[in-house]
């Protein structure tokens, strides 16, 4: 049991991050804080992929003349990292769009607070 808990500590922390991020996105009132939550949320998923690629006693996936090509298990799978490079780019793009939307909202309504925003939207 303790092994299960401590052995998977990386995943527990990822889950914790995930929940923190989700909480921020959904329950925070301030749009900027929502976006912070979103970033945390995305990072936790990136961590999840990277953690899944972890392999002890293996090396970076660059052809090593000593190890050779015979024993592929000696290399870390590069795929997850590549995928996450893409995911990071996507995340940056999403944040970019989100922040620009937030800026536009602020220009229109002079607030980033969602409850105030609601009132101003109704009155306009």
């Amino acid at each position: 049991m303790t092994d299960f808990i401590f052995g998977h500590y990386v995943y527990w922390s990822i889950i914790a991050l995930l929940i923190i991020g989700l909480y921020g996105m959904i329950f925070k009132n301030n749009l900027a804080k929502k976006l912070i939550g979103m970033t945390i949320f995305q990072v936790s998923i990136i961590m999840f992929y990277v953690a899944s690629a972890v392999k002890w006693s293996a090396t970076v996936p660059v052809l090593d003349p000593v190890t050779g090509v015979v024993d592929a298990a000696k290399y870390i799978s590069p795929l997850q990292h590549c995928l996450m490079l893409t995911a990071i780019v996507v995340g940056v793009a999403t944040s970019g769009v989100a922040f620009s939307l937030a800026i536009v909202i602020y220009r229109h309504y002079k607030t980033l607070d969602e409850s105030v925003l609601m009132e101003r939207m109704k009155s306009s």
Partner: protein
């Protein structure tokens, strides 16, 4: 040239989308013809692809010459080629229509609008043709990001709606990614066909169930299946009409396609309907969503918002068809993707015409003069409304017909009742409008009141409506509802039945 046709459409749209801002730097006017050309070309290519798939069977294209499961593969099978045609054709008509409307709705923003639209279509086409689960995620994000943009350029409230959708959409996409992570951990592959072959060996692994749930919830948000629909009404209402006409028919349908693809072609029918009864869950939620959407649509006072709620109900039909997990339900769902795209396209375009002509789309202010001023648009609206209600010979009847058959096959009378009741509810909220448009006497014109700035003195042309580009797409789209209805058996037999998922 021919062997890479699966990849052609997304790449064409992507390159045009990127080149539009560059080429239109000096002359904003080039944006529209460029976008139209790209869209027309993609319609032609995707139609051509359908016929090739029809004749020769599925087409595949391997990026960079890397064969799957290592490389990224694009696959055109009857299903994906069919959905691609639906998306591209509807998009073409909306783009055609946009030339007359964007000047009013999004003045001075035509270049970003067209660039975003093409990017959006590139994402949609990419999602449809890709055979790689991660590639799908990338296209999904291209698709979503451009959709946030398309919504955000609307009226004052639009950025708020777009922001909310962005939050929800990101949760959805991230859930998909998370699920994919689990799937990759257990199967070690990202290629759909490959994953499908490996999965039966590891069905028992709880990670597979987790992967499925996350992916379905994620795409469920994008598809706006009840109760994950919260973002939809505001987004559709506040987006510029021309964007809502693009997003409503295409946006949620693509997500529905992904769910069909993932459930039936990656995880397998047996697994999703028996080992883990997720299809039952989808069907019940969809049934609730149908009633919920229809009832709320009845309560709306604004046309676009009403159509948005009606979309939630219509998406429920697709969800119900998926959830039935039998061949007839599947036929109903796929056919309804086509039908609903055409119906909602028509309806939103008419809403756009109303806004352009009268400056509002507030149902309580409709009266018989609207029909006199926009006779063809209103005729198209009527036809689309009849199709939404599901009266023969329009297309809408047949999606209901297959879904009803599917519900009976499944032996579930509740679903059958839901399908029939909802068509009555549809009748209520559409006839409410039709009654006004055809029967309500117009109020006596008050002095100095002129709703449309350049209103009354326009020259009436022969066809009754002066702007050709606003009228023709609407008329053609709605008229094709009749054609689809009458010849739906050909579509069903030649396209949809060719790729009934294994095990149904």
């Amino acid at each position: 040239m021919l062997h890479n046709s699966p990849a052609l459409v997304p790449l064409l749209l992507l390159s045009t989308a990127i080149s539009i801002p560059v080429l239109a730097i000096k002359k904003a006017k080039v944006a529209y013809p460029l976008a139209m050309a790209a869209s027309l070309l993609s319609v032609v290519i995707s139609c051509y692809n359908v016929f090739r798939v029809w004749g020769n069977g599925p087409l595949t294209y391997h990026f960079g010459g890397w064969f799957p499961p290592i490389g990224i593969e694009y696959v055109l099978d009857p299903l994906s080629s069919f959905i691609a045609v639906v998306v591209n054709v509807v998009a073409f008509f909306v783009l055609w229509h946009s030339s007359g409307i964007q000047g009013r709705e999004i003045p001075g923003k035509s270049v970003p609008y067209y660039a975003l639209t093409l990017l959006f279509l590139c994402g949609a086409n990419g999602i449809i043709v890709t055979g790689d689960l991660f590639n799908l995620y990338v296209f999904l994000e291209i698709f979503s990001l451009s959709m946030y943009g398309l919504i955000g350029i609307g009226e004052k409230q639009a950025p708020v709606a777009a922001f909310r959708y962005l939050i929800m959409g990101t949760i959805g996409a991230s859930f998909y990614l998370l699920g994919l992570g689990f799937l990759y951990i257990v199967t070690g592959s990202l290629n759909m066909a490959d994953v499908r072959n490996i999965l039966p060996l590891v069905y028992g692994n709880p990670a597979v169930a987790a992967a499925l749930s996350f992916m379905v919830i994620g795409m469920g948000i994008k598809m706006a299946i009840f109760p994950l629909h919260g973002w939809l009404p505001d987004a559709y209402t506040y987006a510029p009409s021309t964007s809502s006409a693009l997003i409503a028919p295409i946006g949620t349908k693509v997500a529905a396609y992904v769910i069909i693809r993932v459930l039936f072609f990656v995880f397998g029918v047996k697994f999703v309907s028996q080992s883990l009864p997720i299809t039952d869950l989808i069907a019940w939620l969809a049934a609730i969503g149908i009633l919920y959407g229809s009832v709320l649509a009845m309560a709306q006072k604004e046309l676009k918002r009403m159509l948005a709620y009606s979309s939630i109900a219509q998406i429920g039909y697709i969800g119900l068809g998926i959830g039935l997990a039998n061949p007839l339900g599947y036929i109903g769902a796929v056919l309804h993707i086509l039908n609903h795209a055409f119906m909602k396209g028509t309806l939103f375009l008419v809403a756009a015409n109303l806004r352009k002509r009268f400056g509002h789309s507030d149902i309580s202010r409709f009266d018989a003069s609207y029909r006199k001023k926009l006779p063809w648009s209103m005729a198209a609206f009527t036809l689309a409304a009849l199709s939404m209600i599901g009266l023969p010979p329009t297309a809408g009847f047949f999606s209901k017909w297959y879904l009803a058959l599917g519900a009976i096959d499944k032996g579930n009378w509740v679903f059958l009742a839901v399908i029939l009741i909802s068509s009555l509810l549809n009748a209520v909220y559409f006839f409410r409008i039709l009654e006004k448009v055809y029967l309500a006497p117009p109020p006596a014109p008050a002095a100095g009141e002129n709703l449309s700035p350049d209103g009354e003195k326009r020259k009436g042309s022969l066809i009754g409506e002066e702007e050709y580009s606003l009228m023709m797409p609407v008329v053609i789209l709605s008229f094709s509802l009749l054609l689809i209805g009458l010849w739906n058996a050909n579509i069903v037999k030649e396209v949809i039945q060719r790729i009934i998922p294994l095990g149904m």
